[in-house]
């Protein structure tokens, strides 16, 4: 009987103690979570632009993240998630291109490097740009 009780209690105790341990982790993350990055923050940034979105629209996308930055891909995914049902392509040749930037003001050099002309700045690091005319012709 004692060995059966021990077997049962050891399994249950491991489960309960592990739960406690993980719960401490979860609550730690929940209380210390940085608000700088996340779906809600991203959606707030895109609030103004989201109001103009129409279904079936297609936008290009560039950002000032360096290509090796691990958050670059996550931010692209966040942009798509935020702006659905528009389709966002990692391309600079669409009629309108979303510019996701992190500086206080949109850096003109970023647009020039991508052969884009500014179209509208929504603030909060979100702007729309258009391909420069020569670039558009090439794309077509």
């Amino acid at each position: 009987m004692a060995r059966h009780q021990f077997a049962l209690l050891s399994l249950a105790a491991i489960a309960i103690l592990s739960s406690f341990w993980f719960l401490v982790d979860v609550l730690g993350v929940a209380t210390q979570r940085s608000k700088a990055f996340g779906v809600s923050t991203f959606e707030t940034r895109f609030d103004e632009f989201r109001k103009t979105i129409q279904p079936h629209a297609v936008y290009g996308y560039i950002s000032d993240n360096s290509p090796n930055d691990p958050s670059a891909l996550a931010e692209f995914h966040l942009t798509q998630y935020t702006l659905a049902p528009a389709i966002i392509k990692p391309s600079r040749t669409e009629e309108l291109v979303i510019v996701n930037y992190h500086s206080k003001q949109l850096d003109g050099r970023l647009l020039m490097a991508n052969h884009l002309a500014p179209f509208r700045d929504f603030g909060n690091g979100v702007a729309l740009a258009k391909p420069e005319p020569t670039r558009t012709r090439k794309a077509r």
């Binding site: 249950a12 719960l23 979860v26």
Partner: protein, 478 residues
Amino acid sequence: MTLLCLIAIWLGGFGLVRWMFPQPLRWSLHNISLFSLGVGTGAGVASCLYFLTLILAGPGYAPLASVAGAALVISLAPGLFAQPKAPALNWAEGSAIPWYLTALFVLAMALAVTMFVGAVTASPHGDEAAWSIWNLRARFLFRAGPFWRDAFSSDLSWTHLDYPLLVPGLIALCWKLANQESTDAPIAIAFLFALGTTGVLVGALGALRGKVYALLAGTLLLGTASFIALSAALYGDVPLSFYILATLALLCLQDRYPDNLSFCTLAGLMAGFAAWSRNEGAFFVVAVIVARVVALFRFHQRAAIVPQLIRILAGLAAPLAVFITFKLRLAGPNEYLSQPASLILKHLIDIGRWILTAEGMVIVLFNFGRFLIPIILALALYWYLVRFRVDARDRAGLATAGIALSLTLAAQLLTDILYLANLPLEVNTSFERILVQLWPAALLMFFLASGPLQLVAPKPPEKGSRDKKTGKAVRQTR
């Protein structure tokens, strides 16, 4: 409103399973099991109907509300008015229940709920793979109106266009009926599936082995941090684990009640929903059919093979038809199947990939569940102390579960070895998820095979009492 929709879906599922297994409406193991099975049944049926309405009548509110309302009435009415008939699932006789086991189970449930709430409060949209795949698709289905097919645009190929629609379809259905988009829907769906999985495990083991095993397995499942974490991450793995568990539990119950083939029909339905929840579920469908035939053949129940298979296929037919329609009409190309044969062959003969996979699986087995002590060692200790003793009635069910889980795992690992370009990344990030899909069913198997637990000293027979079997007076000895 979103939550009301989900409750209606749950009740619809309950009505359907109660129609198959009617018993009086009161607090009982039978009804706990039906309510738990109702989670997956309601979710699966609602999601399939949503998909069919979408492709046949478009995304308008009126056709969808009509279909949903009609389905609720059709599934609930016969279920509620069905006259009770056998079999009734009751707690199997077993050792007396020590008070602390019930307390530990309640504590484990409270901790799991707190963990879940903490995690979804921190990330209400779930983890990246959840919002960038499942919730994104739900947003397209809900927000795009007549352009809902944009959800499967080739420009979104990174969102895995071939993933089935049980979870996104259900989320979009709730949003559509509530006419409101909120994170409540995916969170509540995830919670219901976690709760339902626990309920099915406790219900099935309670009926097959008794309360001690049921509560112990439930405590262990609720104490599996990665099960709760993946559930709160809003992934599709916990719904798949629900359907795998439900299918195998129903087949085990079928062996206890061989005259009522409704268990097989419902098992087939659950297996079909497994395929509709994730692509890995399609492996499971094939595996469980093969496993059932082999198990019945091996344990000399050959006469039962054809009738059981017919019932399983009957249950499987509708969700499988929806799954195939989705694959043929909407789903994008499977990224694996589009790979050249030469590359697959190169992967096949690369011994390093096999070793990496085996090594990764061993490591995950020891780290699984974020337990403080490797759970595989704890289970080994339990086995050493209690041993296994399989009831002859459970052999076919146990063999079915063992073969089906092994084949499903093998198929998933083989797919990784043959097709994945970045295998080390998969080993590090996905092996735990794969095990979580199989974990509830593995717990069912383990405790179904467990030897008898003697936890409380048996009460001495009362003076003058009679032996139940022989009817003779019991003489007390000192």
